[in-house]
C-alpha cells in the first residue's frame, strides 16, 4: 500500500513527557524492528505505559520526534490508529456487551467489510464458539485477555502494542498467549509488549529496559546481560541467607539477590568482588560456585544503579 518498506516499525528519538512537573518519560529513544517481538521492561511507574500511549497517539510528547510504521507520531496519529492494535493494561472492551457484540463493534469502527463474518471468524479462532453471547464482563481474566487480543488483531494491524497483557493471568493462559504472539510474529506482525515477568522477557527477540523514564538497556537478552558487565557467584548452604546482611555494605558487591536457598552475589569489578568475598570463602556453612548472571540479575542491577542516580 502506501507504506514504504521500513526496517524499523517503531523509531523514536528523545521522547519526553511530564505530568504535573514530573518527568515520566525522559529523553527516550528506541527502535523496534519489523517482524520482531520487542519486550519492554521496567519497574512499576517507569514510564512504559506512557511511552506506549505516545506511540499510538493517545498522548502527545512534550518533545521528541519519531515514526510508527513510517508515520509521524506527532502529525499522523489518525493513520497510525488504523494500523496499530493497542491492548490496554486494564480490560477496556465493553463489559456489558457480549463477546460477539464487542468484536462486531471493533470490526465496524475499523470499517471492515462484513463485520458479522469477521467477528464470527475471530470467535472461532479464539475458541469461543458457543459462548459468543456471553457478556465480556462475565469472562475470567484469561479469557478476557484472549478476547482483548482477538479484538486487537481483528482489523489486521501491522503492529501490536501490548501493555502488560499477562498481568493477573494464570501460567497456562500465559503460555498459550505467548505461543499466539509468536505465531503472529511468524506471520510478519511486529509486537511491542511490556511485562514484569523475566520468563516473558526471555521469550522476546529483543528487550528494552526502562526505569524512571530513562532507557537503560536495549538489545537481545544476551546483549543486555553482557552489557551490565556483572560477575556472579552463587552461594548455597545453611549460612547463605545470613550472608546477605553481612555483605550488605561490602565494597565490590554491587548486587545480591536470594534465589530459593541460594544467594546470587555479583559485582562489576571482578577483583574488588573477589576481595570482598574472600573472608567468607572458607566458611563451612557456605558453598561458593561461579555463576553466569541471569537476566534478573541484570535487571536488579540496572534498577539499583538507576535508583542511585536518582537519590
Amino acid at each position: 500500500m502506501e507504506t514504504v518498506a521500513v526496517e524499523n516499525v517503531i523509531d523514536v528519538q528523545h521522547l519526553t513527557k511530564s505530568f504535573g512537573g514530573r518527568k515520566v518519560v525522559d529523553d527516550l529513544s528506541m527502535s523496534v524492528k519489523k517482524g520482531r517481538i520487542h519486550g519492554f521492561l521496567g519497574p512499576n511507574g517507569s514510564g512504559k505505559t506512557t511511552t506506549i500511549r505516545m506511540l499510538c497517539g493517545l498522548l502527545t510528547p512534550d518533545s521528541g520526534t519519531g515514526t510508527c510504521l513510517g508515520l509521524d507520531i506527532l502529525t499522523q496519529s489518525d493513520r497510525i490508529r488504523r494500523r496499530v492494535g493497542y491492548m490496554t493494561q486494564k480490560f477496556s472492551l465493553y463489559q456489558d456487551l457480549s463477546i460477539r457484540e464487542n468484536l462486531e463493534f471493533v470490526a465496524r469502527v475499523y470499517g471492515l467489510a462484513d463485520p458479522r463474518g469477521k467477528a464470527g471468524d475471530a470467535i472461532e479462532r479464539l475458541g469461543l464458539k458457543g459462548r459468543e453471547r456471553q457478556l465480556a464482563g462475565e469472562l475470567s481474566g484469561g479469557w478476557k485477555q484472549r478476547l482483548a487480543l482477538g479484538a486487537c488483531i481483528l482489523p489486521e494491524p501491522a503492529l501490536l502494542l501490548l501493555d502488560e497483557p499477562t498481568a493477573g493471568v494464570d501460567p497456562k493462559a500465559r503460555r498459550d498467549f505467548w505461543n499466539e504472539i509468536h505465531a503472529l510474529a511468524g506471520e510478519g506482525l511486529s509486537v511491542l509488549v511490556s511485562t514484569h515477568y523475566m520468563d516473558e522477557a526471555e521469550r522476546c527477540h529483543e528487550i528494552a529496559y526502562i526505569a524512571y523514564g530513562k532507557l537503560l538497556a536495549q538489545g537481545t537478552v544476551d546483549e543486555v546481560i553482557a552489557g551490565t558487565g556483572l560477575h556472579t557467584w552463587t552461594v548455597s548452604g545453611a549460612g547463605a541467607h545470613a550472608l546477605q546482611a553481612e555483605l550488605a555494605h561490602a565494597e565490590g558487591v554491587d548486587m545480591m539477590a536470594p534465589f530459593g536457598t541460594s544467594l546470587h552475589v555479583a559485582g562489576r569489578d571482578e577483583q574488588a568482588l573477589d576481595t570482598a568475598i574472600a573472608p567468607f570463602r572458607q566458611r563451612a556453612d557456605l558453598t561458593w560456585e561461579r555463576g553466569t548472571p541471569t537476566l534478573e540479575d541484570a535487571f536488579i542491577d540496572l534498577m539499583r544503579r538507576s535508583e542511585d542516580n536518582f537519590q
Binding site: 488504523r82 493497542y86 472492551l93 457484540e101 463493534f105 471493533v106 465496524r108 469502527v109 463485520p115
Partner: protein, 380 residues
C-alpha cells in the same frame, strides 16, 4: 483513503457507535425502565397535583353587615365544592391575619350596605381577597365565584330581577402576592418540556464520563473513530427514547387531562425532535467537560434549575426582569414551551414560530460545537 488527519465523517463508524450505545442502553434494564417510568410518574404526580379543579379551598367571609343577602351568599359558598368556610369574621384585621397565616386562601368581603345597594340596583362591589401564591388554585376559584354568588341570589329570590342581563353586583378581585397567575392548561405542555429536559440531559451527561470511568475510553480513543462520530453515535439512540417519552406525555395529556393538540401534529413532532436533540447535545457537552459521572450529573442539575425557573414554566416569562428574560432566551426549554403551548393550545404551527424554532437550532449547534471542540482525543 483520506489523506492527512482523516477526520471525514464515516457513516459506518457512526453506525457502529449507535448500535453499541443502543445495545448498552437496552442491557441496562433499570435505566431503561426509569426512562419510560419517569415521564409517566412525573406527569401523573404533577398533573394531578397541579391540574385538577381545586376544591375545599379554605375560605373566610368578612361580614360588614348582617343581612339576608349575606347569609345566602354564605350558604351558597358552602354548598359548592370549591370553598370551605372556615370562619366568619367582622373586622378587616382578622381577615388580614387569616390570609397572612395561610389559614385561608380566600376572604369574601360583604361590605356595609351591600343588600340595600343591591335592592336599589346600584351594582355594589363584593370584595374578594385571594392568596394568589398558588395561582392555579386561586385563579379557577375566582372564576367560579361570580357564577356561584349570582345564582345563589337568584335562586333564593331575595332580589327581584327585572332584567337578568346586567350584572347585579361587581366583583372586585385582589390577587395578592402574585398579580399574574397561570392558566391550568399551560401545565401539561410545560411539563412535556420539563420532563424531557430533566431526563435527556442526564442520559447524555453520563455518556462520555461513563466510558472514562469504566476504562473503555482508552480503547475507544486508540481506534480510528472521530469525535463527531462518537457524539452522533451516542446521541442517536436517545433521540428515539426522547420521542417515545414525548409521545407518552402528549398521549397522557390528551387522554388523562384532556389537553388538546389543536395545531399541526407534524409541527409538534418536528419541534420536539429539535428540542430532544438540543438537550441531548447540551448534556453531551457537560459530559465532555466533567471529569466523572457525579460531576456530570451535578452540571446537568445546575442547568436544569434555571430551565425550570426562567423558562416560563413556573412563572410567567413576561413578569420577569429583563436580565432574567435574557437568560431565559438562552435556554431551550423557554423556546420549546412557547412553541408547544402555541401548537397545542392555540392551534399554531411551526411557521408561526420561526423565531423559537431557529433559536432551538442555534442552541443545538452551539452545544455541539463546544462538545466536539472539548472532546479530548488524547489522554493528556
Amino acid at each position: 483513503m483520506t489523506i492527512g488527519n482523516g477526520s471525514s465523517f464515516s457513516v459506518a463508524r457512526f453506525w457502529a457507535m449507535t448500535v453499541k450505545e443502543f445495545i448498552q442502553m437496552t442491557r441496562d434494564r433499570v435505566t431503561l425502565a426509569t426512562m419510560i417510568m419517569i415521564p409517566v410518574m412525573q406527569l401523573l404526580l404533577f398533573g394531578f397535583a397541579i391540574n385538577t379543579t381545586p376544591h375545599n379551598l379554605p375560605t373566610a367571609v368578612l361580614m360588614r353587615e348582617s343581612s339576608d343577602v349575606g347569609r345566602s351568599i354564605l350558604a351558597a359558598l358552602e354548598n359548592t365544592d370549591f370553598f370551605e368556610i372556615r370562619s366568619v369574621v367582622t373586622r378587616s384585621e382578622d381577615m388580614d391575619a387569616l390570609l397572612q397565616s395561610g389559614e385561608v386562601l380566600f376572604v369574601v368581603e360583604i361590605p356595609e350596605g351591600f343588600e340595600r345597594a343591591l335592592r336599589r340596583g346600584d351594582t355594589p362591589s363584593l370584595l374578594i381577597a385571594a392568596d394568589a401564591t398558588d395561582p392555579v388554585a386561586s385563579g379557577s376559584a375566582l372564576g367560579a365565584l361570580s357564577g356561584v354568588i349570582q345564582s345563589a341570589l337568584a335562586n333564593d329570590r331575595q332580589i327581584e330581577f327585572t332584567e337578568p342581563n346586567p350584572p347585579l353586583f361587581e366583583i372586585v378581585q385582589h390577587r395578592r402576592y402574585n398579580p399574574a397567575g397561570l392558566s391550568t392548561l399551560n401545565i401539561v405542555p410545560g411539563l412535556l418540556g420539563t420532563i424531557l429536559t430533566m431526563t435527556l440531559l442526564i442520559f447524555t451527561a453520563l455518556a462520555v464520563t461513563r466510558e472514562v470511568e469504566r476504562g473503555t475510553m482508552e480503547n475507544l480513543l486508540s481506534m480510528p473513530i472521530t469525535p463527531l462520530e462518537i457524539m452522533f453515535g451516542k446521541i442517536a439512540p436517545y433521540v428515539i427514547i426522547g420521542l417515545i417519552q414525548a409521545l407518552i406525555i402528549i398521549g397522557a395529556g390528551l387522554f388523562v387531562f384532556g389537553v388538546p393538540v389543536l395545531g399541526d401534529p407534524l409541527s409538534l413532532v418536528v419541534v420536539t425532535l429539535l428540542f430532544v436533540v438540543a438537550n441531548l447535545s447540551i448534556g453531551y457537552t457537560f459530559s465532555t467537560v466533567a471529569s466523572n459521572q457525579l460531576q456530570a450529573v451535578q452540571m446537568a442539575m445546575m442547568f436544569f434549575l434555571p430551565n425550570i425557573l426562567l423558562s416560563g414554566f413556573m412563572f410567567p416569562f413576561a413578569g420577569m426582569p429583563h436580565w432574567a428574560q435574557w437568560i431565559g432566551e438562552a435556554l431551550p426549554l423557554t423556546h420549546y414551551i412557547r412553541v408547544v403551548r402555541a401548537i397545542m393550545l392555540k392551534g399554531a404551527n411551526m411557521g408561526d414560530l420561526t423565531h423559537d424554532t431557529l433559536a432551538l437550532c442555534f442552541l443545538t449547534l452551539v452545544a455541539m460545537l463546544i462538545a466536539v471542540r472539548r472532546f479530548r482525543r488524547t489522554l493528556d
